[in-house]
Every structure is written in C-alpha cells, then in structure tokens.
C-alpha cells in the first residue's frame, strides 16, 4: 500500500516536471518529434491512472502548452469522470482558461473542434469563457477566425447582431456602430485607421497598404502589448522607430533575460548599466520583496547545451541568468558559480563543457545554507562526478543535512520521461520561468522519493485552494 503511494507520488512529480518544462519543441538533445511522443505518452498515462491528480496539476505552475493539453484531454474523456470529479475539474479548467493567453484558448477550442469534442460540458465551458471576455469586439477583430470557430462549434449566438454580421457576413453592412469594427472597415481604405487597430491586425493592413515598416512601428507603438514591445525592441531600434523603446524594468524576468541574451556581447557591455538595473528590478518584483534566504550558492550552467535549440533559443541559459538575479535578490550573501568559470553574468553565452562536479565542490566550499543548481543535468566533464561529489558530501561531510541542495532543471529529457536528475538523494524539479523558483524549491522537497502520496495530496490540495481562491478574489 505504502509502496503504491510512493509510486503514485513519483508519477505525479514526474508528470509535473514534464508539464512545467516540455513544450514539445526541439531541445538540445532531442528533436520535436521525440519530445512530442514522450509528452503525449505521459498525458495518456496520467489521465488513465490518476485522473484527479492529473486535473490537479492545472493548479501548479505548468506551462501553457501543457495546460491546454490537459484541458483538452479532460474534456475529451468527460464520460469517464464522476460527478464529483467533474465539479472540481470544471472549476480548475475555468480558472486555468481565464489565466491562459486568449490566443492559446482559441487554439484549444479549434483543437477541440478538430477532435470533434462537442459535449454539453465543453460547450458550457466555451460559453462561460467567451462570456467573461472583457471586449467581444476586440476579440472578434484580433482573433477573428478563433472567435468564429468557437461560436460555430459551441452553437452560440454572437453577443450582438452587429458582431455576428462582422464575423459571418462582413459585406452585409455599409458601416458599423461599434467604433473598433468601424475602424477595421475603414482600415481597408484609409491608412490612418490602421493605427487604431491591435498591433497584429494592423501589421496585416500595413503590408497591404505598403506602409514603410519604420514609420509603421513608430505610429503603432501605443497599440502594442508589453511582450510585443519587448519582442520588437531591436528591430525597431535598427529602423530608428523610437516610440517602441520601453522601460525594460517593467518586463517579466525570464523574458527579459531572453532578450538580454539575444543582444551581442558588445551591446550588452555598452548598455550594462541599463540592463543590470532592469534585470534587478524585474527580480525584485518577482520576489515580492521577500528576502532572508541566508547564504546562498548557485551553480549555473552556461555550457554549450544551454543554447537549447533553434526553437527554444538559449532558453536554459535565460532561466539560469534570471535565476541568478532572483537569487541575488533573495539571498543575504550570494555566490554565483557559472560552469564555464566566467564571472560576469551579463556577458554569459553558451560555450564549452559542463564540469558540474567541480563547480558544486567550489560552491560547497563557500559554506552556504542553500545550494541551488540550475542545469539541464548533462554533467559531462566527467560524467557523473556531480552525483559522486554530492553523495560523498552528504555521507561524510554533511551527514546532518545542514546545507539544503536543490537542482532545478529547465529541460525535459524525452528518453527518461522526466527532467534529468543529478543524484538520487538530491531533489530535482523542472523549471520554466525563474519567477516560480521559490515555489518550485518547495515542490522539489517531495522529489527525493521519501514523501508519500498523502503528503503530496495535501500539498496539492492547498495549492488548488490557493489557485481557486485567487481567481475568486480577482473577480
């Protein structure tokens, strides 16, 4: 009985790690197909064996790709759920959909349509989500196909007659009463109207009117979302569109780290002051003012494999860089150790082998309270030395466990159906955004294989409660 509980707990953690890290995209050591296949198997396995725990992972910090997959699978197999399960699932799904970016939800609805999932529950969930959208006209313009398909699939009438015409019979009207819809109509003929549309829609019209890209960026800047702005920083700078420039301090930490790593080394050192301030500010915001982690040492992986892949470019390194600034904000004294031996975090780039064992030894010598390792777990110079160092350290030099060691891994290993571990007695957790680091360190404590299902269930229940109340408060 006990062993069964342990296995279940292990399965759940393994799945949580996969759902946090994998996006079924190419990674350094495996291609997109392998990732997709491996992830697909885990989803099928989880929903077959632990349906309620599978739904409960929606309350964790899993990535959007997996959240959408879970929702889809839950809705596909509605008949297998009990009434009680459906009630909890329904609340979790509603909450998760509200938190997902709308384009993801519309893609999910399209996937449900393709899979011919059209049960009453699915339709109700779609209806509620669409009803909760703040501005149906905005959605209709920006996600036109998505909205159209969703309305068709869920057999819903358009919220207003005019919106229905806009979506399904755009030529039926000479003009619209809703300002945004009218702007959209005018944008077909009038360049000035283009700049009042959402950025992605305006981009299409700009191409159609042959508007110069620099002039377009300059004038559309107020309509960009925060991440669109960040994404277009460099291309706007090259073209001299100054209006796009933004205060980097407002950007989310990991995204900002990705942006910084995309800059050339020369530019990074030229703009060192600005970038460092922005990263520190983002880190402080992510911690919410929390401090007092004591003496922290971090081993951060900037080996060549931190490049990730063409699809997830420099993602593992960006997570390490973001973790660096986050830990700097959390710790009283902080020692970063990059695997390459370089000291300057801002000028980091993926290069060389991964001598994790030696860096861990260096870190332990500083006498920290906590040791965090951010690495993809491919320890190769020599392989397995990190595990050996940690084992000997635990058995001989720190038998009381004064130093808490946690390994955070940003890469899903498709062959192992989990993130790669360093050592059996060191907890490993998957990490997607460095902002989740504090909560993941909590979750990682379950990952040593000693905690049973009961404790894990209790942890999950508390997470679910927090997740659901957060949504009610938000309303």
């Amino acid at each position: 009985m006990r062993a069964e509980g342990l296995i279940a707990a292990e399965d759940v953690l393994l799945f949580a790690n996969a759902a946090i890290t994998s996006t079924a995209q190419r990674e350094f050591h495996s291609d997109a197909y392998e990732q997709h296949l491996s992830l697909d198997f885990l989803h099928a396995y989880m929903i077959g064996n632990y349906r309620d725990l599978y739904a409960a992972t929606l309350a964790l910090d899993i990535n959007d790709h997996n959240a959408a997959l879970i929702v889809r699978r839950l809705l596909e197999t509605s008949t297998e759920a009990t009434a009680e399960q459906r009630r909890t699932e329904g609340r979790l799904i509603a909450r998760r959909l509200a938190a997902l970016p709308p384009q993801r939800v519309y893609t999910l609805f399209a996937a449900l349509r393709r899979a011919k999932v059209n049960n009453r529950r699915t339709r109700a969930i779609m209806r509620d989500w669409l009803a909760a959208r703040p501005d149906p006209a905005f959605d209709a313009v920006k996600y036109r196909t998505g909205v159209k398909k969703a309305l068709r699939h869920a057999h819903l009438p358009a919220p207003e007659k005019e919106l229905g015409d806009f979506l399904f019979a755009p030529r039926a009207r000479r003009q619209y009463g809703t300002p945004l819809l009218e702007t959209w109509r005018r944008a077909h003929y009038e360049q000035a109207a283009v700049y009042e549309l959402p950025f992605t829609v305006a981009e299409g019209f700009a191409a159609r009117h042959g508007i110069d890209r620099a002039a377009f960026l300059e004038r559309i800047a107020p309509r960009m979302t925060r991440l669109e702005r960040l994404r277009l920083q460099e291309s706007a700078r090259e073209r001299g569109a100054k209006a796009v420039a933004t205060d980097l301090r407002r950007m989310p930490l990991t995204r900002l780290a990705t942006y910084v790593l995309g800059l050339s080394l020369d530019e990074r050192s030229e703009r060192r002051e600005e970038l460092t301030t922005a990263l520190r500010a983002a880190a402080r915001r992510a911690t919410g003012g929390e401090r007092g982690w004591g003496r922290v040492a971090a081993v951060l992986d900037d080996s060549f494999s931190a490049y990730g892949s063409g699809q997830k470019r420099r993602r593992p390194l960006a997570v390490a860089l973001a973790a660096h600034y986050l830990l700097e904000a959390l710790a009283d004294t902080y020692t970063p150790l990059w695997t390459s031996g370089r000291r300057d975090a801002l000028l980091t780039f993926p290069h060389g082998s991964t001598p994790l064992g030696e860096r861990i030894l260096d870190a332990l010598e500083t006498g920290p309270d906590r040791l965090l390792i951010v690495s993809d777990g491919w320890d190769n110079a020599p392989p397995g030395l990190a595990a050996e160092v940690l084992r000997v350290w635990r058995t001989r030099l720190d038998p009381d466990g004064r130093v808490s060691v946690v390994h955070l891994n940003p890469v899903y290993d498709a062959d192992g159906f989990d993130v790669r571990r360093l050592a059996p007695d060191v907890p490993t957790a998957g990490i997607r955004d460095a902002e989740d680091l504090p909560s993941l360190v909590g979750l990682a404590q379950f990952a040593t294989g000693r905690t049973g299902l009961a404790e894990l269930r209790a942890h999950l229940d508390s997470r679910i409660a927090a997740f659901l109340t957060a949504s009610e408060e938000a309303r």
């Binding site: 080996s303 390459s340 060389g352 010598e365 190769n380 110079a381 020599p382 392989p383 050996e388 000997v392």
Partner: protein
C-alpha cells in the same frame, strides 16, 4: 624526395579530457594548454566558411590544408572552380597570393613536392566536375570534404605507388599507373549510426584541439589540429569524413556504451580538500586509462612514415601501419613541429579486408615486388600466390601469363 623512417605517435602536450558518449559513439576531447604557435588552417578555409569564428590579424605563419577539402583553390591563378585538396599540404607565409601554374584537368598530381621554397605554389588539387546545381550549393561556401570515392582512392594511391622494379610478372598497366585507379569501400560519417548526433550534442572544451572517435569503444579515428579555432571550424566536418567498414558496423550493431563514472572512496574523505584531491585523482586515472588502454592500438604501434614536405620547421609525413592482420591498423597523415610534437593528425582505421590487402602489398614491397620471393615467405607456390593476389582484387596488375600458369 621522400624519406622513410619509423614513427611513433606521441600526443604529448595534449591532455585527455573526460569522454562524452552518445549511443555507441564515444568522443574523447584532447585539450592543449597553449595553442601550437606558427601553424594555422589555410585562411581560405576560414574565409570560405560561414559561422566560423573570425580570426584576428595574423603574423607570418605556415598554414595547412587538410586532405580532401573542397574550395576554389584555383581562383588566384585564374583556373577557378571547386577543387579538392589532394593530400594534406603545408603552405608558406602568404599562401593567398597568386602566381604559379594552375592545375590541369588531368586529376592526379604528383604527391610530395620536396621543394620548400617561399614563393606560393598552387595548391595540389583535384578539380571536381560538379554540375550546375551542386556548383550553386558550393557558392554557399561551406567547408566540406571531397566525395567519398575520390578521397579514399587518393589516400591509397598516396601510399601505394605500385611496383618500383619492372619484374616481368607485372603488367604494363601496373607499372605505368601504379595501383590507381583503386576502389576501396568506406563509409561517409553521416552513415555511421549516431556519429552525426554525437558530434552535434558534443560540447567542445575550451582549448580543445583534437578528438578521438570511438565506435563501440573501438578507436575509429584520431583528429588533432594546432589551434582551438581550427578545431571549432573543422569539428562538424568529421561527419563528412570517411570511416572504414569496421567502424560502420560497430556503430550499427553497438548498444549504448557506458559512461566512465568516477567512484570516490568516501571512507578516505575527511574534508573538502580530500574530496578535491580525490576528484583530481579520478581525472588522472581516466586520462591514464584512456591513453594506455583505449587508445593503445594507435599510440603504441610503430608506423612506417614517409616525410613528404617540410616548411617553416614543420614536417608533413604520411604513415602506414605494420599491416598485421587481426590487429588495429591506422593509416594517416601527421604534421610535426621542430620538436617533434604533433601539430596536425588525421587517421583512418582500416578494416580487416583492407589490412589483408595492405599486408600483401607491404610484403611484396619488402621483397622488391618479386613474386617468387614473396610467395616463399607465405609458404606458397608462385601460382598459388598469384591466385591470392587476384583474390585480393589486384588481378589486373599481373600479366595474364603468370596468373594462368598451373
């Protein structure tokens, strides 16, 4: 003139680092503490390639062109078009400027130019007939090795010139053309299972100047260059390189080879300093084990080497193994500096059938290509021995009369 001597490969100055394993392929990095001064990859190979580290201003130096590299060597002498470097070559200080004759379309050029003069010579190259579409691809300026059959044929004809004395048994053709054309089977790296992936996920060490490739833990090839940047430029080309049948089959049939995981005896560890010492000891133990056991077939063997070129204190030699059947046999090219340190090394592991053929030829050469004397050594009659030569694929070399004798 070429001079012959014996050679032992000594990888002094190159430190063996922990291997990286992918499936059945093990790659062992070799790291130099300091790049070897004075010798670099030919600049044309640098400027032609995309994505290679840009190189700072250079002082006068000697450069080398690895065997089989395709580039527009003739551009300076007005004889443009892609061509493959024929045999590894050493070039003088400003190897870029023009002058000299262009290479004719004849294909074969004599190897081993002994004249070490300072004026740049045209690169000994083999023009490639590439049809339009391939030529366009060539315009993308990527480093690559020359097509499979040419490369190996080149290798073997560099090593075997054919009979030197016109004993009556040998056919006119054998005397005129040597053993060329010869067809040997080899496999391009892309068809060696796992090699492409292994090279792709390999993390190049800082200062790495070489690699030893093992397939199913049998040493397949050694590759050493003088400078880490050269290595970075050439790392990916290992997959376009040639490997023998043995390597191909080992890689195909091999299960994943294990990592060599260090084991530390925890009872001896009382402090972090002890732990550090134990880690260092593990590193040394791996390097010793690798050089002494895993690479012993390459490093402990005696080779017959022919010095083919000398320039700027560097010597280019080609070496042949002893051709002992059922043992590890590597052929290759090596550039050594004035102190005898290995600056450039490239080897090819022969498969068993090739070793047997090589053995046959080596024995013939040792007996001045006299059939009777060689047959005696093998304990065979002349006719039996002729039959064996024929079975080894050298039938055309013999006059029909000898082969037909009862």
């Amino acid at each position: 003139m070429t001079t012959t001597g014996t050679l032992r490969l000594d990888l002094a100055g190159l430190e063996t680092r922990p291997s990286q394993v992918w499936g059945g392929i093990r790659l062992v990095p070799l790291v130099r503490a300091e790049p070897l001064p004075g010798l670099r990859l030919h600049p044309r190979l640098y400027c032609d390639s995309v994505g290679v580290v840009t190189v700072g201003p250079r002082t006068a130096y000697t450069s080398y062109i690895p065997h089989g590299f395709v580039a527009d060597w003739g551009a300076d002498s007005g004889d443009s078009g892609p061509a493959a470097a024929y045999g590894t070559q050493l070039r003088g200080g400003n190897g870029e400027s023009g002058g000299g004759r262009g290479q004719g379309a004849g294909g074969r050029t004599p190897d081993g130019r002994g004249r070490a003069h300072r004026a740049p010579e045209p690169v000994a190259s083999m023009p490639l007939r590439i049809h339009r579409r391939m030529a366009r691809r060539e315009a993308k300026h990527r480093l690559r090795f020359l097509p499979l059959h040419l490369a190996l044929e080149g290798y073997l004809s560099l090593h075997f010139g054919g009979p030197t004395i016109a004993w009556e048994e040998w056919s006119q053709r054998a005397l005129r053309q040597g053993l060329s054309p010869r067809v040997e089977e080899a496999y391009v790296g892309t068809t060696v299972r796992g090699l492409g992936d292994a090279l792709k996920v390999f993390e190049i060490h800082p200062g790495q100047c070489g690699v030893l490739v093992h397939a199913a833990d049998a040493l397949a090839a050694a590759f050493v260059v003088p400078h880490p940047e050269d290595y970075r430029a050439l790392h990916a080309t290992l997959v376009q390189d040639l490997y023998g049948e043995l390597v191909h089959q080992y890689a195909l049939l091999s299960a994943a080879v294990p990592d060599f995981v260090p084991r530390i005896d925890e009872s001896r560890v009382r402090s972090t300093a002890d732990l550090r010492a134990a880690v260092a000891a593990e590193r040394r133990a791996w390097a010793e084990f690798h050089d002494g056991t895993m690479a012993a077939g390459l490093l402990d063997a005696d080779y017959t080497s022919r010095k083919v070129y000398g320039m700027g204190g560097f010597t280019l030699s080609r070496f042949l193994p002893a051709f002992r059947p059922r043992e590890e046999n590597h052929i290759g090219e090596v550039i050594t500096d004035a102190d005898g340190a290995v600056a450039y090394l490239k080897t090819f592991r022969l498969s068993e059938a090739q070793i047997r053929r090589g053995h046959l030829l080596a024995r013939l050469a040792a007996h001045d290509w006299r059939l009777a004397a060689t047959a005696e050594e093998f304990g065979l009659t002349e006719a039996e021995f002729a039959a064996r030569i024929e079975a080894a694929g050298f039938g055309t070399l013999l006059r029909h009369r000898v082969a037909a004798q009862p």
